[in-house]
C-alpha cells in the first residue's frame, strides 16, 4: 500500500478513529493489528520472514535477560566470592549470552543476506566461471524481497545487541516486541529506531492532544507536498534522462545530477515527514532522520545530518566494535612496530571505516554501483581526514574561515561531491556511470540550457515553475528551521495566518501534486533498499 494512495489515507483515518475510541490499554494492540494488516497487504508470504525475525529475537532476548537476572541473583547470594571468582562467573555468563546473540545475528543477517544478496553473489560467481571458460554457470534463485527487510532487520538486531550489552532488559511481551519490529509507518523507509527510544511512547496509553494532532497533520502534509509536488513531478525528467544515455549525455548528465538530488531529497525527507507525522498524531515520537543535510559543509557533517538513524546504527554496532576489537588493536600494534606510529595509529580507523562503507553501500542495494558509491564516500571521508594538515595550513595563510562566502563554497562543494556520486544510483552501472560523467567534460552541448531542450524531457515550463516555487518554499522552511521549530513558530501566529497557510498547503498538494488521468504515484526510493 503506497503512502500516497487513497487506500492508505482511508487506512490511516480508520486507525486514527479507532485508536482514540478503543480503551487505551488496547491502543498498542490495535497498532500491532494494523501493522500486520499493512504487512499482509504487501504480501502474505512475507509475514513468515518478519515473524521469524521477531520470534528468534524474542527468544534470544528472553534467554539473555534470564542469564543476566540469574547472574545478579547468584552474585547477591554469594557476596563472599573473591573478585577473581566473580569475574570468572561473569565471564561464563557472558559466554553463554554470546552464544544466543551470535545465533540470533547469524540467523537474521543470514536471512537478509540470502534474500537480498544471493543472486548478486551468484552473478559474481558466474562472472568468474565465465572467465574459466565452458563451465556450467549457476542458476539464479527466484526470491522476492520482503517489504522493509533491511530496515526491520537492522532495527531488531540493534535491539538484541543492546540487550546483550545490558543496556536495557529484554521486552517480555511478545506482542510489544512484534509491534516494535513491524510498526508500519517506519517499515517502508525507516527511520531505524532504537527500542529504548521508541518504546517510551509506542506502548503507552495516549490521549488525544490537539496540538500534537495539529503538528502531526502539518508534518504529514509537508511530506506529501515534497513527495507529490516536487519529487514525483521531477521524476519524469529523471527517468527520461536515465532511459536514453546515448541521447542524454554531456550537459544532460549535470542536469540529471541536480534533478536526481532534488528528487531523492524531497522523496526521502518527505517520506520521513509522513512517517513522523503519522506517529505524532497517534502520540508516538519517532526520532528525526535529517537535520537540514543540504547545509552541510563537509561529507562527514553530511553523514551526521542525512539518514541519521542508519549512520548511528553503523557507528555504534559496527564501526566502534570493529575498530576496538582486540585483533584489530593487535594488528595496529604490529603495524606501529613495522611502519611507525603515524600509520599504525590510523589503521584501525581506516580498516573499520572501509568495512563500514562497503556494507553501507551493499545495504542500499545488491549491486556494484551501490558498493562503489559506498567506497567513494569512504575515499572522500578518509581524504578529508588526511587533508586536515593542509586545511590548517590554508587557514593559517588565508583568513576566510567563518566568512559567508567560504561557508557557501563549502556547502556547494559538499553538495557537488555527494550529488555526483549519486549518479551511480541513477545509471546502476559502474563503467557506464563513469563514461557518462566523462561525457560531461568532453561533449560540448551546453546550449541545452538555452535552446529549449530541457522542455523536451518530460517537463513543461509550468512544471519548472512549480518545482522552482516548491524548492524555494523548502529552502525558506529549512532556513527558518535553523532557529527553531517552524510549526511552533506558525502556532504563535494569528488564526487567520495559520488557517490560510494550512489551506494553501492542502490546495497546492491537490492542484500541483503530480497526478492526473492515468497517473500512478511512485513508490518511495528508499523502499527498494
Amino acid at each position: 500500500m503506497l503512502f500516497t494512495s487513497f487506500d492508505f489515507i482511508i487506512f490511516i483515518t480508520l486507525l486514527f478513529v479507532m485508536y482514540y475510541t478503543v480503551p487505551k490499554k488496547y491502543q498498542w494492540k490495535l497498532l500491532l493489528a494494523f501493522s500486520y494488516i499493512f504487512y499482509f497487504i504487501a504480501g502474505p508470504k512475507f509475514l513468515f520472514y518478519i515473524l521469524l525475525t521477531t520470534g528468534s529475537t524474542y527468544v534470544s532476548g528472553i534467554k539473555i535477560g534470564k542469564l543476566y537476572e540469574d547472574q545478579s541473583l547468584y552474585l547477591k547470594a554469594n557476596k563472599e566470592l573473591s573478585r577473581e571468582e566473580k569475574k570468572a562467573f561473569k565471564a561464563k555468563v557472558k559466554k553463554r549470552a554470546w552464544k544466543w546473540i551470535l545465533g540470533c545475528l547469524l540467523l537474521n543477517f543470514g536471512i537478509l543476506f540470502f534474500i537480498k544478496y544471493i543472486n548478486f553473489t551468484i552473478a559474481n560467481i558466474n562472472w568468474f566461471i565465465d572467465r574459466l571458460n565452458d563451465r556450467e554457470t549457476l542458476s539464479f534463485i527466484d526470491i522476492a524481497l520482503p517489504l522493509g527487510i533491511s530496515f526491520y532487520t537492522f532495527q531488531t538486531m540493534g535491539y538484541i545487541i543492546d540487550v546483550y550489552r545490558g543496556k536495557y532488559p529484554p521486552e517480555k511481551n511478545f506482542g510489544k516486541l512484534a509491534l516494535f519490529v513491524s510498526f508500519f509507518p517506519q517499515l517502508i523507509q525507516g527511520p531505524i529506531s532504537r527500542f529504548d527510544d521508541l518504546a517510551k511512547t509506542l506502548f503507552r496509553e495516549n490521549s488525544f492532544n490537539y496540538n500534537e494532532f495539529s503538528f502531526g497533520l502539518q508534518r504529514i502534509l509537508w511530506g506529501y507536498f515534497k513527495k507529490l509536488v516536487i519529487a514525483d513531478r521531477i521524476l519524469v525528467a529523471v527517468q527520461t534522462l536515465i532511459g536514453d544515455t546515448a541521447m542524454y549525455d554531456g550537459a544532460y548528465v549535470f542536469v540529471l545530477m541536480v534533478f536526481y538530488t532534488v528528487q531523492l531529497y524531497c522523496d526521502f525527507t518527505g517520506g520521513i515527514d509522513i512517517t513522523i507525522g503519522i506517529a505524532q498524531i497517534l502520540g508516538i515520537k519517532v526520532q528525526e532522520n535529517f537535520i537540514r543535510p543540504a547545509f552541510s559543509k563537509n561529507i562527514a557533517e553530511f553523514w551526521r545530518r542525512w539518514h541519521i538513524s542508519l549512520g548511528t546504527w553503523f557507528k555504534e554496532y559496527l564501526f566502534y566494535p570493529l575498530s576496538i576489537w582486540k585483533p584489530m588493536l593487535n594488528f595496529s600494534r604490529f603495524a606501529r612496530s613495522k611502519f611507525g606510529d603515524s600509520i599504525g595509529k590510523k589503521l584501525p580507523v581506516f580498516l573499520s571505516a572501509f568495512v563500514v562503507w562497503f556494507i553501507t553501500g551493499a545495504w542500499h542495494g545488491a549491486s556494484w554501483n551501490f558498493i562503489v558509491w559506498g567506497l567513494l564516500n569512504y575515499i572522500f571521508l578518509m581524504g578529508s581526514e588526511e587533508l586536515k594538515p593542509f586545511y590548517s595550513w590554508f587557514h593559517s595563510k588565508f583568513d576566510v574561515q567563518g566568512t559567508l562566502g567560504f561557508k557557501l563554497f563549502q556547502i556547494a562543494r559538499t553538495n557537488l561531491l555527494v550529488s555526483s556520486i549519486r549518479l551511480l544510483d541513477c545509471y546502476r552501472d559502474v563503467p557506464g556511470t563513469f563514461k557518462m560523467v566523462g561525457s560531461f567534460f568532453t561533449k560540448n552541448n551546453f546550449n541545452i540550457f538555452v535552446d529549449g531542450s530541457l522542455l523536451e524531457i518530460g517537463l513543461t515550463s509550468a512544471d519548472y515553475w512549480v518545482i522552482t516555487g516548491g524548492l524555494l518554499l523548502v529552502l525558506v522552511v529549512a532556513l527558518i528551521g535553523r532557529k527553531g521549530s517552524v510549526r511552533e513558530l506558525m502556532a504563535a501566529k494569528p488564526v487567520i495566518v495559520r488557517r490560510t497557510a494550512f489551506y494553501l498547503l492542502i490546495m497546492s498538494i491537490l492542484i500541483f501534486g503530480a497526478y492526473g488521468v492515468g497517473y500512478e504515484s511512485s513508490q518511495f526510493i528508499y523502499n527498494q533498499f
Binding site: R165, K315, F319, Y320, S323, K326, V349, S352
Partner: protein, 76 residues
C-alpha cells in the same frame, strides 16, 4: 592522567583538555578521534574500552575518560 592528556593533545593541540567538559557535545572529538583514543589507551594503559562504554558521558572530558580507565583497570 599525564599520559591521557598527552594522547588527547596529540589529536587536538588547540584544545585545553584539562578544563574542557563538552568534548562530544561540542563536536571537538569525532568518531575517528574516539577510536584513535581507545586504541591509544589500549596501547598505553593495557585497558580495553568496550564498545558499549563509548557514550558521551565517558568521553566528554579528560576527567571522565580517566575515571573510565580507572574503572576498567579495577574490573580487569
Amino acid at each position: 592522567m599525564k599520559t591521557l592528556l598527552s594522547i588527547l593533545k596529540d589529536l587536538h593541540p588547540e584544545i585545553d583538555f584539562e578544563t574542557h567538559e563538552q568534548l562530544i557535545d561540542k563536536g571537538v572529538l569525532d568518531s575517528f578521534d574516539i577510536v584513535t583514543i581507545a586504541a591509544e589507551i589500549d596501547n598505553e594503559y593495557g585497558v580495553s574500552i568496550p564498545a558499549d562504554a563509548i557514550v558521551p558521558e565517558n568521553f566528554n572530558s579528560a576527567k571522565a575518560l580517566y575515571a573510565l580507565i580507572e574503572r576498567l583497570e579495577e574490573e580487569e
